[in-house]
């Protein structure tokens, strides 16, 4: 199983591939949805990757606004051992 650091690197590379025209390197806080780098057609692939890396499914109905905001948020939301803050 990948370490969190390896997952973050893989995730960043995946995002970078989705934005070939991006002038700067994708950072942990680069907005993914608001910037239009990640579009709805990418989401199924993203969710499948996240499920594979964390070894368990993601319940789409449990997703909330901001979950895919940036890489830092994705890492905290899906790969943190800390309990999720109540919404």
């Amino acid at each position: 199983m990948k370490s969190p650091e390896e997952i973050e690197t893989s995730l960043r590379m995946w995002v970078q591939r989705k934005a070939p025209g991006l002038q700067t390197e994708v950072q942990p806080t680069t907005p993914l949805l608001a910037s239009g780098i990640i579009k709805s057609l990418h989401l199924a692939e993203l969710i499948m990757m996240l499920e594979m890396w964390r070894g368990e499914p993601i319940d789409v109905q449990s997703l909330i606004p901001g979950d895919f905001q940036d890489i830092e948020t994705i890492m905290r939301r899906f790969f943190s051992t800390q309990p999720r803050e109540s919404q």
Binding site: L33, A34, K39, S40, L41, H42, L43, A44, I47, V60, Q61, L63, I64, P65, G66, D67, F68, Q69
Partner: protein
């Protein structure tokens, strides 16, 4: 309310169990005033008014993937294949079975859909247009959405939707939606209708399998004014460049953003009656609101 009782009938509501209502008398007058109020709101942006026909070209809606996203809601106009032999065959047959279902012979290919939302024809009408400034439009149409169950005024197969639409830059659309939401808030307050703004998603078929639904969950684009936790009276919707890109609605060579505020007329009637009662004398004075939309009704 499952079926209107005699008091509702007296104020002008008749109900067809196939999800359609008939308005007359005081209720019809209220509906007309209500729509004038929405038009008055649209005039804030000097929105250009359009009236579109009922049918929308299916291939145009297919461009925005409508039939994969909302197949369960679609209603189609069907006609007999236009050959004398086929029509003869139909006429000479039984025509209808005992359940009331027509026994159609061959039908023409279905290339149209009955308008499922008032604003779709606007984007289609303006396709391949270059805008030099933001465009503001308003449109009302009878919309058709097939549902599993119907409720008078609340969930109908055929219902009236008034929309105000902005096509512009991201900032222009965002400002429009912000102002529109404020105006709807003010209007509901003036009409003394309790509500809450709630984040919502569109009614996708098998939503969890649809990437657009997932996108709406993680990056909301729709807020609904929900009456007593039950009925969405209206919504404020951001489309981003969804329609701008598909229909080539361009500004400075780039696809425009768009957004709309939508009102379900029958649902507003429902909330007004539920809050103010079945006696027309107790209904809010919409005429004074039409002349002064930010004012207070009696």
């Amino acid at each position: 309310m499952n079926a209107p009782d005699s008091t509702w009938i007296r104020i002008g509501l008749s109900w067809h169990s196939n999800g359609q209502s008939v308005l007359s008398g005081p209720l019809l007058r209220l509906a007309k005033r209500l729509d004038e109020l929405f038009l008055r709101l649209a005039s804030k942006w000097q929105a250009e008014e359009f009236h579109f026909p009922t049918f929308v070209c299916a291939s145009k809606l297919n461009q925005v993937d409508y039939f994969r996203a909302f197949p369960h809601l679609a209603t189609f106009p069907v006609s007999l294949e236009q050959t004398p032999e086929n029509i003869d065959e139909f006429v000479k047959g039984k025509v209808m079975d005992e359940s009331g279902a027509l026994l159609l012979t061959r039908t023409d290919p279905i290339k149209e859909i009955l308008t499922p939302a008032a604003c779709y024809p606007l984007y289609i009408h303006h396709q391949r247009s270059h805008f030099a400034a933001p465009g503001y439009f308003t449109v009302r149409n009878t919309c058709f959405r097939r549902e599993m169950q119907y409720r008078p005024l609340v969930r109908q197969w055929a219902f009236n939707m008034r929309e105000i639409v902005c096509m512009g830059t991201q900032d222009e659309v965002s400002n429009f939606l912000h102002t529109a939401q404020e105006q709807v808030t003010q209007l509901l307050g003036a009409l003394k209708i309790p509500y809450q703004w709630q984040i919502a998603t569109d009614p996708f078929f098998r939503p969890t399998q649809n990437p657009n639904y997932i996108m709406q969950r993680v990056s909301p684009v729709k807020q609904e004014a929900v009456y007593r936790d039950d009925v969405a009276l209206g919504s404020v919707n951001l489309h981003r460049d969804h329609f701008g890109a598909e229909f080539a609605l361009l500004r400075d060579g780039k696809p425009m953003n768009s957004g709309c505020v939508a009102f379900g007329l029958e649902r507003w009637l429902y909330a007004l009656i539920m809050e103010h009662g079945l006696n027309p004398e107790h209904w809010p004075d919409l005429d004074s609101l039409i002349s002064n939309p930010s004012g207070h009704s009696k």
